[in-house]
Amino acid sequence: MSTPEKKAGLAPDEDQTHTQETVLDSGIRIKKLYTPQDIAHLSYEKDIGDPGKFPYVRGIYPEMYWKKPWTRRLYAGYGNATETNRRFKFLLENGQSGLSAALDLPTQIGLDSDDPLAAADVGRVGVAIDTLKDMEEIFAGIDLGKVSTSFTINATAAILLAMYVAVGEKQGVPSKNLRGTVQNDILKEYIARGQYVFPPKPSTRIVGDIIEYCIHNIPRFNSISVAGSHMHENGATSVQQVAYTFCDALAYIDEVVRRGYHIDQFAQNISFLFCSRQNMFEDICTYRAARKRWAHLMKDRLQAKDPKSYTLKFAAGGGGLWMTKRQPLNNIGRAMIVALASALGGAQSVLLAAYDEPFAIPTEDSARISLNLQNILVHEAGITDTIDPLAGSYFVESLTDEIDRKIVETMEWVEKNGGILSLIEKGDIQRQLARQAMAEEMRVQKGESVLVGVNRFVAEGEKGEEDMVFHEPDPMTRQHQVERLAKVKKERDPRKVESALDGLKKAAVEGTNLMPPLIQAVKTYATLAEMVKVFKDVWGTYSAPSGI
């Protein structure tokens, strides 16, 4: 059958057979066949190791999922605090083992809901938080001593963490029992995510303040989750995703070590966030290689002595960029591949995009599907019956080794070219990612990369988005939030607020840790923007080069 819409020389429903070897974006060539020769140079003891043993290729714990499956998370956070509280309770009742809070964009860059600049974004991609009152409401009836909460927050992470601590105190839960994660990774915001406020240097100091405060006061909290996923979705290869993320992590570690701490005091509070794109084995091997490289960096370079410091804990998942508007139910299949790659790669927690990602933020139904895909893997598919089932595969071990070498090469390139901070400030990383994203997109548009339902296997009259039900934001969200904020402002003691903000300014200027004065300030119901303004007055704001 011939068709005028022929792409890449193939009819839309014809299979593509291999005429040559596949080359990954990172330049690694996938061979047609792997044999024992491909792993003959690897020593099991030295290069792979048992699960829980250096260099941790097979997983960071001896028993991995056999003992405890990965934490199944879902990105959730809607409109206002009350709605988010209801959603969190629903997820906890439905078997989710950890909460993940999405914050709206104004909260992420330190604007209050009544700011005109925030007008269109209040409560849109997450919950709006202006004062401690909102945080209290989100966790009303949820024991902070029993849940683990992950906050996707960076520029304003210190303020949100201060609020979480204050809510814990009010519930009678001491800080030392709080569990969760703040993303707190500002450098990737300049590269790929855009939610930054201050210049890189003071921003890196805030990151350091959070890590330092957690060492002493919130030892069970992951004070930083260094994220590669946003870069990966913006055009970074799998190798670059890991290499640049490790460079960022080393910059933060330097900031804390510089203050006189030993890496073993906080290595365990550093976690990572990676995402999967499409190629399942590339993702699996990337995660295995990342564990090995991190173990070596911690041991050889940073002289960590505690074996727990060697272990790379990471969240994985994503899949949003892979999802298509055409034939949207196919996205459920894509999400399952992402879940499988994350699980076979040994992730500690997994957060999957929902199939309606190309249209809107998830509905309760689409969210439940993404959660249950993971439950199917854990409870039905036998994925957890044996630890690291792919170990020893000629292909998997060989590719893991090759990716590891490329990660080393890429990190060396960064260091030779002035370090990650300088490359970001010059826009070099952004430029590189934009070029690669363009090349990727062109391959899809030319039909060289197959996207089922988009450039291949397209059926006439197929069902599109017409019948889909999307999450409908409440049009009153902003008004309610503004009223709520006005009420809090009216009821608080302005003298206490002012004096707390003075204390915060003093710390910002003098360079002492910002967390104690922030905790003081949030307790007076100072608003997010009031606290951020103190910092803006001291440090100014910043605009990162776009790279194009």
């Binding site: 860059i109 855009g194 508007k325």
Partner: protein
């Protein structure tokens, strides 16, 4: 006959949304197609966009929106343009925009809407066919 001037395009992110992969890709694709493209970067207000349109004398404004604020953004940008008396500019949008919102956007004055994986060729053709100055050029 004088060669027609290059089409000038302003691509912008309005509001707080940081997803800029698409905005950058479209900027590069239009540049590759011979258009002059000014990319404003992140976090512009509708007023900043209108001001830039006036200053740069662009023919086309492309707004990228992936965080659900497309309708409010479109309304505010068109109002800001009107306030400055800019009438002859082609407004297009791209990003994560459900089809059910297309009509509302059209009514506000957005002429072209391009979702994820829209082909660059379609965007380029649409601009060439609908750019205001093209109407006066005899073919």
């Amino acid at each position: 006959m004088e060669a027609s001037p290059r089409i000038r395009v302003l691509i912008s992110k309005v509001g707080l949304d940081g997803h800029d992969r698409g905005a950058k890709l479209v900027s590069m694709a239009l540049r590759n197609a011979g258009m002059e493209v000014i990319y404003t970067g992140l976090r512009n207000t509708p007023d900043m966009v209108a001001q830039a349109v006036l200053q740069e004398g662009v023919d086309v404004v492309g707004i990228s929106s992936l965080a659900g604020a497309h309708i409010a953004t479109a309304r505010l940008v068109t109002e800001a343009l009107k306030k400055r008396g800019v009438g002859d500019v082609l407004i297009i949008m791209g990003g994560i925009i459900p089809k059910r919102d297309f009509e509302a956007l059209n009514q506000i004055g957005v002429k072209g809407i391009f979702s994820v994986h829209a082909s660059f060729d379609d965007i380029i053709d649409f601009i060439r066919k609908n750019v205001p100055q093209a109407q006066g050029v005899s073919t």
